[in-house]
Assembly symmetry: C2
Homo-oligomer: 76 residues x 2
DNA sequence: ATGTAGACTTAAGTCGACC
DNA sequence: AGGTCGACTTAAGTCTACA
């Protein structure tokens, strides 16, 4: 039943895209970003694939680790 | 180890301010917004006081209920 | 009409192992 | 180097009641 139960969280998708782009632009691997942000590599993998509904605190930690504005990770 | 207890979650504070402003601008009570968003009044109270670390899905539901862009609730 | 408290269920977030 | 699978702990989010 892949009738997509939830409206496909826009912000979650944006974060997935922007995070991966920002990380790669910074020349970091998921493991390196995991170290810097204090989050786990497995978790970052999920986020970059849009599988996780992260909290605002996590968005901030990622933004800080990448030296970008938090909103930049959520923008269109 | 850091003298700051908690990094003072910027996004959380922004959301608190913007949510209350947007809700009042729409002429809604917390209870009415609770109905529209499917969230609870007690929870909205906490969010508007910056006490809760909400997820992206909740931000979207609030934005939808208020007919504003999700990023508008997080902006400075 | 809002804020707070407490008990509760579910998912966020951690971690090690592996492909 | 990234993805996936589980098992686990903690906090997000629900709900009732009351000042």
């Amino acid at each position: 039943m892949s009738t997509s139960p939830s409206p496909a969280s826009v912000l979650r998708e944006q974060l997935a895209r922007n995070l991966r782009a920002a990380r790669q632009h910074a020349g970091l691997t998921q493991e390196q970003l995991a170290e810097r942000s204090g989050l786990h590599q497995t978790y970052l993998s999920d986020i970059e694939r849009g599988k996780r509904n992260v909290t605002l605190d996590v968005v901030e930690r990622l933004a800080a680790a990448l030296s970008v504005a938090p909103l930049a990770l959520l923008a269109d």
